[in-house]
């Protein structure tokens, strides 16, 4: 599913050019639930953005679903993210004063063709995250946990191959954290590939596999 080969990332702005990521090689199979762990600033988000085709590595190759991502142009990468990848962020990133449903439908605007069954699909994914009775609520009328669930529904709308979640529980209380991890667990059971980024060991333990980032390198610390 995802194959990264000798990926290196150096931010050109940093004065000392020590790479944030150094010689990262990893492979993730379809249907796996993987956690990427590491301390703050270790480069977890950087790695996730690269794997999610939001950023390009300084060096190295990335293969997604058998396709070499490296040679793709900007528009092709946008289309790829739209169709195959769902993102969930620590800060939810919902459009305020916009209903849960419209937030969920946002990725469809950027699809090749706006589907006729968009509304049904929107309601369906909202039901999947347990928000069937909050469809018409504005994003800013929802609690943090509910907002993150809307974000997960948004990630699901295009039926993606992979879901990337960057510290999805970082801004949530323990109750909401449990709910979100529960939903991610369900999605995994349905056969989706899930990659979660976290600094929290207990969160990481929900995954099948844990990779740890340290000094720009990666180490396998849990493998069933």
């Amino acid at each position: 599913m995802i194959k990264a080969n000798k990926i290196e990332k150096t931010y050109s702005k940093t004065a000392i050019l020590t790479p944030v990521l150094n010689d990262i090689t990893l492979s993730i199979q379809k249907g796996e639930y993987v956690a990427i762990m590491g301390t703050s600033g270790s480069g977890k988000s950087t790695l996730m953005y690269i794997l999610g085709c939001l950023d390009k590595p300084t060096k190295g190759e990335l293969e997604l679903d058998g396709v070499d991502v490296y040679g793709m142009d900007d528009d092709a990468l946008s289309a790829l993210r739209n169709k195959k990848i769902g993102f969930v962020f620590q800060q939810f990133f919902l459009l305020e004063r916009t209903t849960a449903l419209d937030n969920v439908l946002l990725p469809l605007i950027y699809a090749n063709k706006y589907p006729d069954d968009a509304l049904q699909r929107g309601r369906k994914v909202l039901a999947q995250v347990g928000l069937e009775d909050r469809v018409e609520y504005l994003a800013n009328e929802l609690s943090g946990g509910q907002q993150q669930r809307v974000a997960i529904a948004r990630a699901l709308i295009n039926d993606p191959d992979v879901i990337f979640a960057d510290e999805p529980t970082g801004n949530l209380d323990s109750q909401s954290t449990a709910e979100i991890l529960d939903i991610l667990g369900h999605l995994h059971q349905e056969g989706r590939t899930i990659i979660i980024v976290t600094h929290d060991r207990t969160v990481a333990n929900h995954a099948q596999r844990i990779l740890e980032l340290k000094d720009g390198r990666i180490a396998e610390i849990k493998n069933p």
Binding site: S45, Y49, G52, L54, D55, D74, D75, S78, A79, R81, N82, K83, F87, F89, Q91, F93, L95, L106, P107, I109, Y110, A111, R154, N158
Partner: protein, 378 residues
């Protein structure tokens, strides 16, 4: 933006109004005209002001002009006085204008009922009158005035005709609110004067207007023995009157035009500022949209559309206020303005163009933003 578009609408409407005004003026004055007024005429607020009684022009001057200036086709002297007219119990004050039959030819005055008076009636100072339609309505209501006796001052006059309705002229004078009687009659029987106030002179062709004006001036100066004194008359020709009018309109148009362009520019800069702020405040939104699949061009389009909508709203209100102002100005101020729908549309389109132009920079800034930078921004 609003002011800019409003100005465009007003400007073009005004321009069209002025153009119509000038055409009207030429049409109603008659063509190839030179006007000589007794004494010095000053323009106050666009209207002629003449000292009340000026005794410089005589009928003999008219004869001399017709005889000695070759390019003159026709000359019509006139003198007028505001007086009371009465028919049965109705009674009103109006301008009594004494003219020769030439005036009807030169100034294209026609009757809708009855006839004009002839040279014989003029020469023998008959008491006949051709009345304006306002007079006909006020005094006679629905009755046909022709053949009835009215009283001007105390003297009885027979109404021989009613003039076709001409409306209010460029300077706000109602051309239907007057009575034409023979010049000899007004001079010998009503006012008892040897002097006339005005001469309308028609020149054979437009090119001769300026040379004829010069000849007439010299002739009158000689006849009045002015030596090195200033003119005791005012002479204007149609070419210069039209030119002056055009000049005034042009100045106004330039003024409104600069208001329009300045406010469009200010509006554009306003849009630039609003959109740059939007760009800064919505970096995360841009990042998110990119993450879920928006291409750079989608972001650019979104920002351009938003500036277009802003500008369009400004333009809409501008068009609205422009039309409102135009209507108010022509209703209250008596300005001669014609609403131009083309200008309204044009102003609207112009605001859209300004919106697009000033939207380009923020839009391309938004499109260039890297998604990870956008998502990481605080």
């Amino acid at each position: 933006m609003t002011i800019g578009v409003a100005s465009v609408v007003v400007m073009v409407s005004m321009g069209r109004g002025a153009q119509k005004h000038i055409l009207d003026m030429i049409h109603n004055m008659g063509t190839n005209l030179i006007v000589v007024n007794a004494g010095q005429v000053t323009l106050v607020g666009g209207r002629e002001r003449q000292a009340a009684i000026v005794t410089t022009l005589r009928p003999a001057d008219v004869t001399a002009i017709a005889e000695h200036v070759v390019s003159v086709a026709d000359a019509a002297p006139e003198t007028s006085r505001s007086m009371n007219v009465r028919w049965e119990s109705e009674n009103m004050k109006t301008d009594i204008v004494g003219v020769t039959p030439a005036a009807f030819r030169i100034r294209k005055i026609e009757t809708k009922v009855g006839r004009i008076f002839n040279s014989f009636e003029n020469d023998s100072a008959q008491r006949v009158a051709v009345i304006g339609s306002v007079i006909a309505e006020t005094l006679f209501h629905d009755e046909n005035p022709v053949g009835h006796q009215i009283r001007i001052g105390l003297a009885p006059f027979e109404v021989v005709g009613v003039m076709t309705t001409k409306g209010v002229d460029a300077t706000g004078v109602d051309r239907d609110d007057r009575i034409l009687i023979p010049l000899e009659t007004i001079m010998r029987r009503l006012v008892r004067t040897f002097f006339i106030q005005k001469i309308h002179i028609q020149v054979k062709n437009f090119d001769k207007l300026n040379s004829a004006e010069a000849e007439i001036r010299n002739l009158l100066r000689e006849r009045h023995r002015l030596g090195d004194k200033p003119d005791d008359f005012t002479i204007q020709n149609q070419a210069t009157i039209v030119e002056t009018e055009k000049e005034a309109t042009r100045t106004l148009t330039i003024l409104v035009g600069s208001i329009a362009s300045i406010s469009l520019l200010v509006g554009g800069i306003g849009i630039l500022a609003v959109m740059l702020t939007a760009f800064r405040e919505r970096r995360k939104e841009i990042g998110l949209r990119r993450a879920v699949g928006a291409r750079r061009s989608d972001i650019r389009t979104q920002f351009l559309l938003e500036s277009l909508i802003f500008a369009g709203l400004g333009g809409f209100f501008g068009a609205f206020f422009g039309i409102l102002f135009t209507i108010l100005a022509s209703a209250l101020g008596g300005w001669n303005i014609i609403i131009s729908w083309v200008a309204t549309f044009f102003g609207f389109a112009l605001s859209a163009v300004v919106g697009l132009i000033f939207g380009i920079y923020p839009a391309s800034k938004a499109a260039r933003l890297e998604p990870i930078e956008a998502l990481r921004s605080e």
